[in-house]
Homo-oligomer: 350 residues x 3
């Protein structure tokens, strides 16, 4: 038996199994600085301690998606090392904010299993939870991945398909403790548009584009200690499906969120991800653009100073978004679309 | 009206207008570490808290040019998003040192406007000021950019051309409070040569070369939260003037300064930038070299321990600097020259 | 005389000479975060303050190899700027752990000199020592490099070849003060395999591969303030031996160590490097793989909780390691092998 771990195959998962992930991580200001350098994020709350204190927080919390990637990254060696595809996300709730100095650990519980028709792969649903050093939940989400079977002849497990909400209900959205928007400086945050100014159905072209580089997505993915092989190993990829390294889908989510600053600068916190799909792979050399649509406006109980917007942000490759591409003529995702993300952000009200 | 901001065109500027820039930024040790990783800077003062305390400072301040880029970066969305070219700098004075934990904000005042002969663009002069959380000025400089008009038929504004000094006068150079050079360890700083050892007219080939990578200049430029499109969007660039992403001129300034360590290791602080021109664009794959000339030696009133050198540092692409290239045979800048920077540094005296 | 320093040639070294290196460096959490982003390291001790405190340490120490590279980097301008090749390492002992906030300085003593048969180059042996701000040794090692002569006609110096140990003896291995393995959480560290589970002669394929990028090795090498020209200057390299930039050998060591996490996750500290050879150069585009062999199991006097494993880790380019490549049919190193590293790690015992 070798000491190295080839990762779980579909047969190795059992519904109810809890996987405690390796490598606890103390997060630092450096993770945030690298995140800015790799994604171009410009949101004020994550850039300025002074701005954060003005909102009643002790200092600038880490970017929400950086927390997502750190928790996700911990789960890869146990869940998706042999994944063929990352199929979707649901029920993702951001908990207490994460500050430099916090130490994150993560575990995942297997929620569901379903062998695919081919008999060569299966779908695994897991709920992953990230926790800080006080045991508080910082993130909780479900994802499902298609995983190779070790032995295609192995019998299919009993099929269990978890019941997942289409949207995270408003009651589950959490606000950082002490949050007060009274002194919110919208001009300093980058836009005069607040919750009240957005309308359901409104669409926003985020205008900018950013070109993917192998060195950048590799650095981002390693920063998260995500060791999925498809992102790093060109030698193996050359004989594989794409012939090159695939960009970690989470990096695309981060780029889309960073691009969305131009049009959503006051969306100061992601409270939930309702669902997400990586509709096409991205590679170095592609230029990523994004647009968003307001799906819903949500009043938060007891808060007149802050509301929630449910958004769909769509990212494309090598196609600007002035025409808001989403579906092709055949009603399937447009081939230029690489991401559809349905999520809920917090925004100050007038 | 879309919520996203396409940036100001020439018609949108008015002389006297004050633009308060978005995204306050708390700077950290991580910004300095990334700056070192991206530029190769080796100056002792910015690398060592112990060295800095030996000079009477509380700890290592951020690299001066990192401060410059952070202030510059804040101004891009408001000033130069639609810039055709960054034409020049003047009257740039570095104020109080910036330390990890400081929060920087920036604003710009429009100083001048001049429509160009073509009627399609105009030159905008702005004075940009960076301020820390105590309201102290960390940087103040003038730059001028050529900006597209939205509508070429729009009438030209009244022409206002600011009067700019050719050189920052000695009285405006500021020394960090508490600075004492008594215990300066030149060997540890990397060179035995102090203020007294340099002569006016002396030229120094900095010897080393460093090759530009798209991933590196993109990361540097994003670290500064500078979102000028020409640095990031290959898809758009492919149909543009150069066919590729242009390197942020400030990255070239930083590389030239880092290269200048070999020959100017004791130039521990940039006190002023008198003027600067990006004479040619640089692209990934170019190798940057640099050389410097001593233009002036400046006594600082009341200080026998420190003097100022006015320098011209020239950066080239794909051409080593043993022959000190500057002008071509036609007296125009040599096509290999990408930067001429006229600036003033502080250096210990014997 | 130019102020810039072309670096020492073979004639400039004398046995017994002590070179005090420039640029003291205060290390930070950011150096560690960048190290993770550039190498993919996942060892728990260097990732988590909570984990480190569980072992009796004040917080997470910097990765051992990051310390190695920072000390090595300081020595380059004085020792190996004109090196043709970095020939080997020996007698490398890691001393007190390095924590964020520590300031490192380094010096080297010339141990030996030997002109090569060609008369154009010579071998220089130096012992380099890294010290923290309290004067404690953090690292001490010998390396030897082949250095160009300035003048091939210069007479050969008296030959002095230092006597170097083949292996660092167990008595010289140091354990961090206060280290206690009582509460070691192997599952959280990533593997159930402890000291007791490894056998002499056991070989481990580390499975994963990582492709080199110019932007990444340049950033890593600059982070260490290592300014050896061969890593950065494509313009000069194009007329040189390889036609491209050579990856810093230390970056390969770090990638091999990071890959070795899969199979050696509980090797929480490198205590010594007994010897190492860069058997072939690596370039951007190569994919690095690694495998390890257990050479020796070492009891540490007075410690029943921790033992030492002497390992050989071999890194390859563009060749996975399922067959443990080392020597080719001619008994010379396999051309795919780029690194052989003989080193000693600490690991908890049952």
């Amino acid at each position: 038996m070798s000491k190295s771990n080839p990762g779980r195959f579909f047969e190795d998962f059992r519904v109810g199994q809890v996987l405690r992930h390796a490598t606890p991580r103390t997060v630092t200001e450096a993770d945030q600085a690298l995140y800015i350098a790799l994604t171009g994020s410009r949101f004020a709350l994550h850039s300025s301690d002074v701005f954060a204190r003005g909102l009643g927080l002790p200092r600038a919390p880490l970017d929400d998606l950086l927390v997502f990637h750190l928790v996700f990254g911990r789960s890869v060696a146990d869940v998706s090392r042999n994944a063929v595809a990352n199929l979707g996300y649901a029920a993702c709730v951001f908990g207490v904010p994460v500050y430099p100095g916090d130490t994150l650990t993560a575990h995942s519980r297997v929620l569901g299993l379903r062998e695919t028709a081919s008999g060569k792969t299966g779908v695994v649903w897991v709920r992953s939870t990230g926790t800080n050093q006080r045991g508080e939940t910082v993130l909780d989400y479900v994802r499902w991945v298609m995983v190779n079977k070790r032995d295609p002849a192995a019998p299919a497990p009993e099929q269990v398909t978890p019941d997942l909400p289409e949207v995270v209900e408003a009651a589950r959205l959490t606000l950082p403790e002490g949050l007060s928007l009274a002194g919110y400086d919208a001009e300093l945050a980058g836009s005069a548009d607040l919750f009240d100014d957005y309308e359901i159905g409104e669409r926003i072209d985020h205008l900018d584009g950013v070109t993917l580089e192998d060195a950048e997505h590799q650095m981002a993915t390693r920063l998260y200690q995500n060791n999925a092989r498809v992102h790093f190993d060109l030698h193996a990829a050359q004989t594989g499906r794409f012939g090159k390294r695939v960009v970690y889908g989470g990096h695309i989510i981060s780029l889309a969120r960073a691009l969305s600053f131009n049009g959503l600068a006051n969306a100061f916190r992601i409270a939930a991800i309702n669902g997400g799909r990586h509709t096409n792979p991205s590679f170095a050399g592609h230029t990523i653009y994004a647009w968003s649509e307001v799906l819903e406006k949500i009043d938060l109980p007891g808060r007149s100073d802050v509301g929630a917007l449910r958004l769909r942000t769509v990212a494309t490759k090598d196609r600007p978004c002035a025409e808001f591409p989403l579906l092709g003529p055949d009603r399937n995702p447009d081939p230029a679309v690489v991401l559809e993300l349905d999520y809920t952000v917090l925004m100050p009200r007038r």
